[in-house]
Amino acid sequence: MIRHRIWSITTLLVVFTLFLSACGGTAPAVPSASNTTPQAAPTTAEATQATGATSASAATAASAMTSAAATTEAPAATSAATEAPAATSAATQASGAAPAAVQLPADAAPLEQQVYVTHYDNTADFTTIDFYESVYKRGGAISDILSDSLVRLDKNFKLQPGAATKWEVDSTGLVWTFHLDPNLMWTDDTPVTADDYVATFRYGADPKHAWDFTWFFNGVIKNWDDVVAGKKPLTDLGFKAVDAHTLQVETQTPAPYLPAMMLYSDTMQKKALEAHGGLYNSDPATSVSSGPFILQEWKKGERLVYVANPKYKGTNKPMIQKIICIGAAPSTDFAAYQSNEIDFMSGPNLSPADNTIVSSDLDLQKDYHPHYGDFRTHYLFFDFQNPPFNNLKVRQAFSHVIDRDGLIKSIIKPTQGLPAYSFLMPGFPAANSEALKGIQNYDPAAAQKLLADAGYPGGKGFPKLTLWLRNEAPVRQAMAQAIAASIKQNLGIDVDVSNKENKTFTDAMNAKPTQIQFGLVDYGMDFLDPANMLGVFKSGGRHNWNNKQFDDLYNKASAFTGDPQERTKMFQDAEKLLVSDVGSVFIYHRTPGDLYRPYLKGTELEPDQNGKAAIHWPGFTSFSTLPSSMYVSKDVTNYRKSVPQ
């Protein structure tokens, strides 16, 4: 009888657990540990990650972007774009006094069904929907949609006019002039003026505000650093209103990439800012908009609702009439998507099991759209100033033991990433992947020889290592474990993998001298210029790989206003230094896809010049031309029983 008891209990357990697994096990890990790592770059909600483009197909994007950044030299090109930008579609022809009715395409669902439902991560910090209030506390929700930024990006990463109809730079290369769209009005019927923009930038630099993104303009905007440090008054800042609709931006050194940086320039209203402070958009009562949408409801931690702005007169007029953002843990996104509760889910929130399910389900496969993301690269870094990693041979040995193709194939999955042998992802301006591929290639034999040459034959005498991770998603935990195993198996060096809490990691990484001997981290772009990505490796920056030659090349290239091709070449030389001196061991470029329903349509969702149909970075925000293009088609009735409220 007693034996019977043990068996019956065990059998029950087995049967029950099997049953549950059969019902479909579960979603990703504990919320706090899952995919909530703050993105390095100021990614917008859906904006998230990158492309599924193959290296070959992405090459064209690079040239597109370079030419966009080069508008400096060709004001004519930009003024051409002033007239009715091609990318902003038919529905945006609204002008004149009366708000034009929305013109929906023939296959669109009725206006009341133009509702877009997404999740945002309510386990992350989310205090504002304004870039200039905070960049890292926007919770990954749809944000920055209550005013237009000066420029915006289309699906091919080309800069398009936004609130600025055109812009030009003077002969010194230091003074930029942006001409604002005079049609733009706030919902309180006052015009949007250059003063609003100036007030917004000053708010960003204000020491009392202590904005979390001030580094972005460091050394670029005139007097920015001194104003942030409180050494100069706000009025000395290099932003000036020449007249109501002309904004002047002065830079410290020539910065050909300034228009690209001005992607982040969704203005706040000077009046509201002065009356209610920087959080005036937290409450519909004090919120004011000049952008495509207005804030209707914000229940903190629960939901955020926008409706189309009937008074909007800009060039990004939306067809979507209502956006519902529901606060949820990223690990539950897939369940909600499968239950038809949301229209979109961000690819990085798919767990490894979710990805397996997607790849074996034909319907879900159709909903899966790989894209460029924010050109994010994951890489290993070291404490470069101390033994053993101050020895180039050791670093080279490490760079040769990682089977990136195997990692992509078996762990990351080819739909989620590309093997990386250098920093700039194929498709990013100045990317040089093919040429740099051979430097850090997978070659265990060479690695063993290098390690022996460095004085550690077979790993003898090498200290035990701990590989630090910054609150990584499960798939990258697995990747790091595989890397550790590969180092052990090929080089005979013991490596522990420790997944650290975000702030513990960041604090240790940034400490001077750094407290992390060996770590895995990533970076994605803030704006489309090599100066942005490569800036991570400047001396005194994120890592202590200090290379004077790299710094010189980088600084020269950044400020170079001559032939764009020559500039690109300089950046490529800098990156080659970075790769061959093993300033990092590059692992993979993240290229996941998002899931969205087939009833989401629009020209911006159709294939880009590389054939990728996707919601490209930066997603549904006024930084993108997407809002004026996306609509809900009639097919929606096959999925939704009722219009979401």
Binding site: I2, R3, R5, I6, I9, T10, L13, V14, T17, L18, S21, A22, G24, G25, T26, A27, P28, A29, V30, S32, A33, S34, S331, S351, P352, A353, D354, T356, I357, D403, G406, L407, K409, S410, I411, T466, W468, P474, V475, Q477, A478, A480, Q481, A482, A484, A485, S486, K488, Q489, D496, V497, S498, N499, K500, E501, T504, F505
Partner: protein
Amino acid sequence: MSTVANTPARVASDVQRKGEASLWRDARRRFFKNKLAVAALVVAVALILTAIFANVIAPASYDYSVIGDALQFPNRQHLLGTDSVGRDFLSRLIYGARISMIVGFSVQAIAVLIGVSLGMLAGLLGGWVDYLIMRCVEVLTAIPGILFALFLISVFGGGLRNVILAIALVGWIDLCRLTRAQFLTLREKDYVLAARSIGTSPFQIATRHLLPNALAPLIVAVTLGIPSAIFTEASLSFLGLGINDPLPSWGKMVADANSYIRVYWHLGLFPTLLIATTMLSFSFVGDGLRDALDPHLNK
């Protein structure tokens, strides 16, 4: 004629000595009559042996990874499949027993040591001793474990010792409160009052009379504390304080599996089963021990 009078004290101590010997003999006899407890003991010993001799038993190394073999279902080559990095899952489970057993038991050992002693003191002495101990308990309960864990990481780093420390720091509270509560009621029972009146020392009263009678809930608390310590270890590893990969632990395996088991069920099922089996076997052994030692039970 005997000049040596059989003083009551002498008699008492004789009886006691004889009683003690037979008490243990009876207890052992009773325990081995309880087949459920014996079966559970066999399982428990097997689990402990597995942990100790993991390197002999395991078919492969716990950290040998073949990336191409990642996420295999149970098959002939890998009886329980492979994990997300292509390591033999059975071997990892066998090695995982080590960490999980060490954590589970050392935490409970510390908890029993601190918790039961402080609980005995509080319950037996009452007054300001009780007051002080209980207020300390209240302070400790209010401080979140994560905060303390992060503090430990920043000061001492990770590692097994700190994991055990972090868990044990609050692990003793339930045991302390249980012991104290049992003592509060038991110390007023007739037999305790009687023992006290004949001058038995408070220590003897506590260990001879009170503790055996307070044992039932304590055993439950200790056995339930094992899985909870195993899981706490896993949650600490999310903060970087836990046991670092590649060393496996069951709790971490369950937690890690959470993003895989919707498809790769084996990753969640087997470690869960092992934790459940461990808890069950130890609670049956505990029940058996309790029954065997039960003063009321004299079959």
